[in-house]
Symmetry: C2
Subunit: 346 residues, 2 copies
DNA sequence: TGTTAGCACTCCACATATTTGAGTGCTAAC
DNA sequence: GTTAGCACTCAAATATGTGGAGTGCTAACA
């Protein structure tokens, strides 16, 4: 026998899920039968529920309890049933975020706003610089064998590293190298700094080529892999304590640890970067769809942000599966739109 | 009637506390009576315990339970009773830490080591720079009205800020300012950059004085108040879940929040800076002695570290009151000694 | 006078009934 | 196809009972 997902079943499923999102309690047939727009007795609802359960969309925590959505049920809901709350477009001083000179501050702020608005945990990855252009390099002599390299990228992201040279380097040479490096590399993205450019640069450098080499090595590693650990800004990790299904010992500990360990967080989120972008660049991962063990009871919602000049990264929130998806997606959309307004239109 | 703390009472108190530190269970009179070096019956111990309770050093969670130490009892213990485990002096490759060029990395690492070694949560404040000397300043032109200021202090701490100028600034002027700033300020500590120096500097600057002023303002605020939030490195916050008395919902949430909010942490720890230094610079705060609400059930142990050139800060651990004080103090001492070896002797 | 054995008492922790109520599945009637 | 009705299930809440660890007190002892 073939079970069909007719209109009525969908309506019932939606009602069950929405009710469960609100209350967090298993939903019984009587509750749904009171729903206005489908005037059915609880007995009928029970029959339908039984079907929905057989289809794997809902389940009972135990016999004689109401139903709660399964991961599959949630998936159907976010893909088909949920209606995004129409959001008023950003309007003058209603803007939540404002442009600041330093991108890091903006992103930190973004994480905080998101956590406060949603009451879930939020994370924002620092932008990937690969397509991003170099604004300038500045080498300065620290002492005999130490050079400080300061690199500024588009978006005013500043990074710096100490370079230890094998031989003492003269002040003069540093000035020359500064000129050289800047004239060759400024305006290039990291991927554009290929062998051709580099060998030309070395040629030009003449006897200082070895030093240039060291400098280039350092700079490239400085730009590509983010020195020690990936830069991720998080906020509101403790919000998870607001949801009983996540806040008991074991789980909470694992989740908070994950948030402490930026490298793990990074893995979690990087995959979303490579995935085909669906539904306006917002991705939702429900329960077991998350690779990370500590997230199996969570849902993760991510969005790709873009700051212009190829600077892009991921912003996301982590919360219980029983999450207000509509609100979260809405909030993310709003923030993305505002970022767009600030960085790409003006 | 006057209760005297005689030798025997002290011995019993010490036995109770040490037992409680190990087991985490209230300690009964029979347990102590089995203690080898004071051969007494449980009845006698009970009498003594009754006295110790009256003195406010121990208490019962409920009638007919064993005794646990009060804050006052812990205080007496750490002040008088506890014996620090003698530690082997750092010896070649037993060193836990090694010198690195960037102080930040060292401190981050320090926090991690401390958390892993003790199984408590650790925190390390970035050094206060007030007595620290400027190594050099480097201004670079970013675009018409933006200057990037990079400042390096002794210890190779690098900070940078964007300065927005009112008027476009010529490349020439920046070069001049660089020379000027460095010749006047290099080698000075922030406190030495007083009005005399500054007005002399402005004089010399002539028509560029307004720009210099902006630059100086920015630099001083960059050095003194640590831009956005105080720099504090934390590690192992999730260790608190290992201690049942801290890991239940309410408390754990509060503690983790405190660790997320660096500014609160800072307050907690700053007071230890100003306090008279007792017992080789290690301070212990037990339970209610902590000002911060979320720490009332914790003990905090802090030490002042010093990296030479007046760079100093605080390193500390946070754990349950039932903490292995001897080990913690020992570990801190060892680390301090190693830091000393690295930074102050060589 | 300090120490100890002995005993009654307290109270938590744990286990075991008992009750309650929300919710189900099934059947029979409409 | 829908619904009322009923027996059934099971978690959660509420009593009830028991065991044991630990105490305080008293009276005897060195």
């Amino acid at each position: 026998m073939e079970l069909e997902l007719d209109e009525r079943k969908l309506k019932i499923l939606k009602a069950i899920i929405q009710n469960y999102l609100e209350t967090g309690e298993p939903v019984g047939s009587r509750t749904i039968s009171k729903y206005a727009d489908l005037a059915l007795s609880s007995a009928t609802i029970r029959n339908e529920m039984s079907d929905l359960e057989e289809m794997g969309l809902i389940m009972q925590p135990h016999t004689s309890a109401g139903r709660i959505p399964t991961d599959k049920g949630y998936r159907l809901y976010v893909d088909e049933l949920m209606e995004e709350k129409e959001r008023e477009k950003p309007d003058g001083n209603e803007m939540l975020i404002q442009r600041v000179d330093r991108v890091e501050l903006l992103l930190k702020n973004l994480a905080k706003i998101l956590a406060n608005n949603t009451n879930y945990a939020s994370l924002v990855t620092a932008p990937q610089y690969h397509h991003n252009k170099l604004k300038f390099i500045q080498l300065s002599k620290v002492d005999e064998k130490k050079i400080l390299a300061v690199v500024m990228m588009e978006g005013n992201v500043v990074k710096n590293t100490l370079i230890n040279t094998l031989e003492p380097v003269d002040e003069q040479i540093i000035v020359k190298m500064n000129l050289l490096l800047n004239s060759f590399l400024t305006g290039l993205s990291v991927s554009e700094m290929n062998l051709a450019v580099i060998s030309k640069l070395k040629n030009e450098a003449g006897e200082y080529a070895p030093i240039i080499e060291t400098v280039l090595d350092t700079i490239s590693s400085m730009i590509t892999e983010d020195d020690e650990e990936p830069q991720i800004y998080t906020s509101g990790a403790t919000n998870i304590f607001k949801y009983p299904e996540l806040s008991d010992g074991e789980k909470a500990s694992g989740l908070i640890s994950t948030f402490e360990e930026k490298s793990v967080l990074n893995e979690l989120v990087v995959k979303s970067m490579n995935e085909p972008k669906q539904s306006h660049d917002i991705n939702i991962y429900i329960g077991d769809e998350n690779k990370n063990e500590s997230m199996k009871d969570c849902s993760v919602v991510t969005a790709n942000y873009e700051l212009g000049d190829g600077m892009q990264g991921i912003i996301g929130i982590v919360g219980p599966k029983r999450m207000d998806y509509e609100k979260v997606v809405g909030t993310l959309r709003t923030l993305m739109a505002q970022l767009d307004d600030i960085y790409n239109k003006s």
